[in-house]
Symmetry: C2
Subunit: 216 residues, 2 copies
DNA sequence: TTTATATGACTGAGCGCTCGTTCAAGCATG
DNA sequence: CATGCTTGAACGAGCGCTCAGTCATATAAA
């Protein structure tokens, strides 16, 4: 298994500094802050969401906010990280239930696409917002993104050559993994059109056929 | 043919107001402005690009800038529109060369993907920037995006049922069109990973196989 | 041809405002 | 009293946009 290790220390990391001594308090407060921030970012975007709005929505003063988080950019990073953790967990859950046989690939795809449906707002927001991360955090966030894609890649490669699946070259497996990842996200970032023409179940059905090459 | 009509009045539209009387001058100056703005937006993003930077890069005073363009948001719209026109033209060019037979679909995909490679910066920028458009303009920009996707959809549907292609249901054609569109753009917005692992020609080769169902 | 006037492109200092961030002072707990 | 947490007024950099004024050129009058 080439499964890359993902550090999933919930959010108590020392990565982002804080003035507060009690680490439990930090975790609890940051939860609150991140939760309200996610909502605000989804609703207004990064720039139109002010630190004051965030403070108010989390029932803090701005002063307090800056005790728990050192800058708006750092907060943005925490937000991205939390969302990725949520997606990753959901996907891994879906994966653990099935043992990668023939039709199970379709299962995994389907589960993942449901996650994308449920978290559409979050996914869209991530697309819009990663650009504002300082380089240091951007790299980390892209790594997290890659971690999720790697789940598919690993699933595919564990399948390659078995159960009437053709033996697939690494490059192909790699790219197909990315395709699955992106076609899921596409449901989020093209929903302005897709939701008018498909239900999520239509979408899953057709895309699964598409991915598995049943169309042409 | 369900080809939707696309208004391709270059950029002389009355859509975006100006104080300047001479329409030729408006066209010429706006060209300059849009050109430098595209570069700046690609380099710094929308928010970090100030109107003063734009003015300087176009060899104007800010005052003058605002004679030709009524707000930064309007300018953003002009930028998006111009890029879409460029993509659309390139795609239509590619399409007109081949007469939609069997292998020509692969040709079109390949041409489109080359456009996405060449205009990667622009495509990425559009993804990051559409969110800042006022609703009125956003709708128009999404329509332009759809126009491009429709080129693929029309190509596919003119192909459906002929030349050993299966007869495809409308929904499927529709979605596959979007998939082609997005898989092209993916080369731009995932290049942080893809460019390390594929050349554009690798990418085209594998994706074409993928789309045409030759993989599984 | 010269002079007076009108036009409209162009200039850039500056207004009004927002926003991220800080810090001196307050409060609660042990 | 000390420590740890909270508060919100204050700061100042930076932004989009305006507007009173300049200047080159075109037109009209003499």
């Amino acid at each position: 298994m080439e499964q890359p290790k993902t550090d999933t220390t919930p959010t108590a990391d020392t990565e982002v500094p804080t003035q507060i001594k009690n680490p439990d308090l930090v975790m609890e407060r940051r939860r609150q802050i991140i939760d309200s921030t996610v909502k605000l970012f989804i609703q207004h975007g990064y720039h139109k969401t002010t630190t004051r709005m965030i403070a108010k929505a989390s029932n803090f003063s701005i002063g307090s906010l800056y005790e728990y988080v050192s800058s708006k950019e750092d907060l943005l990073y925490l937000v991205c990280k939390t969302i990725h953790e949520e997606v990753q967990e959901a996907v891994e859950n879906a994966l653990s239930k099935t043992d990668m046989g023939k039709k199970q690939l379709a299962q995994v795809i389907s589960q993942y696409f449901y996650v994308c449906d449920r978290m559409g707002d979050h996914i869209l927001m991530m697309y819009q917002v990663t650009q504002f991360l300082p380089e240091k955090w951007k790299t980390k966030v892209l790594t997290n993104e890659l971690n999720i894609t790697n789940i598919f890649i690993n699933a595919l490669s564990s399948l390659s050559g078995k159960n009437s699946f053709p033996k697939l070259d690494n490059q192909i497996v790699n790219l197909v993994g990315h395709n699955i990842s992106v076609l899921g996200q596409m449901w989020a970032f093209r929903r302005w059109h897709l939701k008018n023409n498909f239900t999520i179940d239509d979408y899953i059905k057709i895309q699964t056929d598409f991915i598995l090459g049943h169309i042409f």
